[in-house]
Symmetry: C2
Subunit: 91 residues, 2 copies
Protein backbone atom coordinates (compact mmCIF):
# COMPACT_ATOMS: atom_id res chain seq x y z
CA UNK A 1 0.00 0.00 0.00
CA UNK A 2 1.55 3.29 -1.07
CA UNK A 3 1.23 6.52 0.83
CA UNK A 4 0.49 9.76 -0.97
CA UNK A 5 0.71 13.02 0.97
CA UNK A 6 -1.28 16.14 0.12
CA UNK A 7 0.00 19.28 1.84
CA UNK A 8 -2.47 22.16 1.84
CA UNK A 9 -1.20 25.62 2.78
CA UNK A 10 -2.79 29.07 2.62
CA UNK A 11 -1.50 31.04 -0.37
CA UNK A 12 1.36 33.41 0.59
CA UNK A 13 -0.82 36.48 0.03
CA UNK A 14 -3.58 35.24 2.37
CA UNK A 15 -3.38 36.25 6.03
CA UNK A 16 -2.74 33.28 8.31
CA UNK A 17 -3.99 34.15 11.83
CA UNK A 18 -3.23 30.65 13.18
CA UNK A 19 0.38 30.88 12.05
CA UNK A 20 0.66 34.43 13.42
CA UNK A 21 -0.65 33.31 16.79
CA UNK A 22 2.00 30.59 16.92
CA UNK A 23 4.74 32.99 15.84
CA UNK A 24 3.80 35.57 18.49
CA UNK A 25 3.65 32.96 21.22
CA UNK A 26 7.16 31.63 20.53
CA UNK A 27 9.24 34.50 22.05
CA UNK A 28 7.07 34.42 25.18
CA UNK A 29 7.94 30.73 25.49
CA UNK A 30 11.65 31.39 25.04
CA UNK A 31 12.04 30.50 21.36
CA UNK A 32 13.71 33.31 19.41
CA UNK A 33 14.77 33.52 15.78
CA UNK A 34 11.63 32.34 14.00
CA UNK A 35 10.74 35.05 11.48
CA UNK A 36 7.46 33.61 10.24
CA UNK A 37 5.11 30.70 10.81
CA UNK A 38 2.46 29.40 8.44
CA UNK A 39 0.10 26.65 9.50
CA UNK A 40 -1.56 24.28 7.07
CA UNK A 41 -3.01 20.83 6.71
CA UNK A 42 -1.37 17.54 5.84
CA UNK A 43 -3.42 14.64 4.47
CA UNK A 44 -1.88 11.16 4.37
CA UNK A 45 -3.74 8.96 1.89
CA UNK A 46 -3.18 5.20 1.81
CA UNK A 47 -3.75 4.22 -1.80
CA UNK A 48 -4.95 0.71 -2.59
CA UNK A 49 -3.33 -0.43 -5.82
CA UNK A 50 -0.52 1.05 -7.86
CA UNK A 51 0.31 4.76 -7.71
CA UNK A 52 0.63 5.34 -11.44
CA UNK A 53 0.03 8.50 -13.43
CA UNK A 54 -3.72 7.84 -13.58
CA UNK A 55 -3.95 7.42 -9.80
CA UNK A 56 -1.92 10.57 -9.23
CA UNK A 57 -4.11 12.50 -11.64
CA UNK A 58 -7.18 11.36 -9.67
CA UNK A 59 -5.59 12.35 -6.37
CA UNK A 60 -4.65 15.71 -7.86
CA UNK A 61 -8.28 16.25 -8.90
CA UNK A 62 -9.45 15.14 -5.45
CA UNK A 63 -7.10 17.61 -3.77
CA UNK A 64 -8.23 20.39 -6.07
CA UNK A 65 -11.97 19.82 -5.67
CA UNK A 66 -12.23 18.54 -2.12
CA UNK A 67 -9.15 18.76 0.11
CA UNK A 68 -8.07 22.30 -0.76
CA UNK A 69 -9.97 25.50 -1.35
CA UNK A 70 -7.96 26.67 -4.33
CA UNK A 71 -9.27 30.23 -4.04
CA UNK A 72 -7.17 30.73 -0.91
CA UNK A 73 -5.01 27.58 -0.66
CA UNK A 74 -2.17 25.93 -2.58
CA UNK A 75 -1.55 22.21 -2.43
CA UNK A 76 1.31 19.83 -3.16
CA UNK A 77 0.89 16.12 -3.95
CA UNK A 78 3.84 13.92 -2.96
CA UNK A 79 4.32 10.17 -3.21
CA UNK A 80 5.97 8.97 -0.05
CA UNK A 81 7.22 5.43 0.34
CA UNK A 82 6.90 3.87 3.77
CA UNK A 83 10.67 3.57 4.02
CA UNK A 84 11.38 7.21 3.22
CA UNK A 85 8.81 8.20 5.81
CA UNK A 86 10.51 6.13 8.50
CA UNK A 87 13.96 7.46 7.62
CA UNK A 88 12.72 11.02 7.97
CA UNK A 89 11.21 10.56 11.40
CA UNK A 90 13.16 12.51 13.96
CA UNK A 91 11.40 10.79 16.83
Amino acid sequence: MARVVVDVMLKPEILDPQGQAVQRALPRLGFEGIADVRQGKRFELEVAGPVDDAALARIHEMAETFLANTVIEDFIVKVESEKAEKAEESK
Copy 2:
Protein backbone atom coordinates in the same frame (compact mmCIF):
# COMPACT_ATOMS: atom_id res chain seq x y z
CA MET B 1 16.19 32.48 5.23
CA ALA B 2 15.77 28.72 5.61
CA ARG B 3 12.49 26.94 5.91
CA VAL B 4 11.98 24.20 8.47
CA VAL B 5 8.80 22.14 8.32
CA VAL B 6 7.21 20.44 11.32
CA ASP B 7 4.58 17.84 10.42
CA VAL B 8 2.31 16.87 13.29
CA MET B 9 0.12 13.77 12.89
CA LEU B 10 -2.03 11.84 15.34
CA LYS B 11 -0.31 8.65 16.49
CA PRO B 12 -1.43 5.59 14.49
CA GLU B 13 -3.27 4.11 17.49
CA ILE B 14 -5.33 7.29 18.04
CA LEU B 15 -8.70 7.55 16.31
CA ASP B 16 -8.75 10.29 13.64
CA PRO B 17 -12.38 11.38 13.07
CA GLN B 18 -11.37 14.16 10.65
CA GLY B 19 -9.47 11.73 8.46
CA GLN B 20 -12.33 9.22 8.64
CA ALA B 21 -14.83 11.87 7.57
CA VAL B 22 -12.68 12.65 4.54
CA GLN B 23 -12.24 8.97 3.69
CA ARG B 24 -15.98 8.27 3.89
CA ALA B 25 -16.81 11.28 1.75
CA LEU B 26 -14.48 10.27 -1.10
CA PRO B 27 -16.54 7.40 -2.62
CA ARG B 28 -19.65 9.61 -2.56
CA LEU B 29 -17.67 12.15 -4.57
CA GLY B 30 -16.52 9.54 -7.07
CA PHE B 31 -13.02 8.86 -5.76
CA GLU B 32 -12.44 5.16 -5.16
CA GLY B 33 -9.35 3.26 -4.06
CA ILE B 34 -8.28 5.28 -1.01
CA ALA B 35 -7.99 2.81 1.86
CA ASP B 36 -7.28 5.25 4.65
CA VAL B 37 -6.92 8.99 5.28
CA ARG B 38 -5.18 10.65 8.23
CA GLN B 39 -5.30 14.40 8.65
CA GLY B 40 -2.66 16.35 10.50
CA LYS B 41 -1.01 19.73 10.74
CA ARG B 42 1.92 21.21 8.87
CA PHE B 43 3.90 24.14 10.28
CA GLU B 44 6.28 26.04 8.00
CA LEU B 45 8.83 27.97 10.07
CA GLU B 46 11.04 30.62 8.47
CA VAL B 47 14.23 30.55 10.49
CA ALA B 48 16.34 33.71 10.73
CA GLY B 49 19.99 32.72 10.77
CA PRO B 50 21.70 29.41 10.08
CA VAL B 51 19.88 26.11 10.53
CA ASP B 52 22.62 24.30 12.40
CA ASP B 53 22.35 21.50 14.93
CA ALA B 54 21.65 23.95 17.76
CA ALA B 55 18.81 25.60 15.83
CA LEU B 56 17.33 22.22 14.93
CA ALA B 57 17.55 21.08 18.54
CA ARG B 58 15.65 24.21 19.58
CA ILE B 59 12.99 23.64 16.92
CA HIS B 60 12.70 20.03 18.03
CA GLU B 61 12.12 21.18 21.60
CA MET B 62 9.61 23.78 20.38
CA ALA B 63 7.71 21.12 18.44
CA GLU B 64 7.72 18.79 21.40
CA THR B 65 6.54 21.34 23.97
CA PHE B 66 4.32 23.61 21.93
CA LEU B 67 3.38 22.52 18.40
CA ALA B 68 2.55 18.88 19.12
CA ASN B 69 0.75 17.16 21.95
CA THR B 70 3.13 14.23 22.29
CA VAL B 71 0.62 12.22 24.30
CA ILE B 72 -1.48 11.71 21.17
CA GLU B 73 0.64 13.13 18.33
CA ASP B 74 3.92 12.33 16.56
CA PHE B 75 5.95 14.99 14.81
CA ILE B 76 8.67 15.14 12.17
CA VAL B 77 11.12 18.04 11.73
CA LYS B 78 12.42 18.54 8.19
CA VAL B 79 14.74 21.16 6.73
CA GLU B 80 13.37 22.25 3.38
CA SER B 81 15.33 24.51 1.06
CA GLU B 82 13.37 27.06 -0.94
CA LYS B 83 14.47 25.42 -4.18
CA ALA B 84 13.37 21.91 -3.21
CA GLU B 85 9.99 23.31 -2.20
CA LYS B 86 9.48 24.94 -5.57
CA ALA B 87 10.49 21.81 -7.47
CA GLU B 88 7.95 19.77 -5.57
CA GLU B 89 5.03 22.06 -6.22
CA SER B 90 2.49 20.38 -8.44
CA LYS B 91 0.60 23.58 -9.02
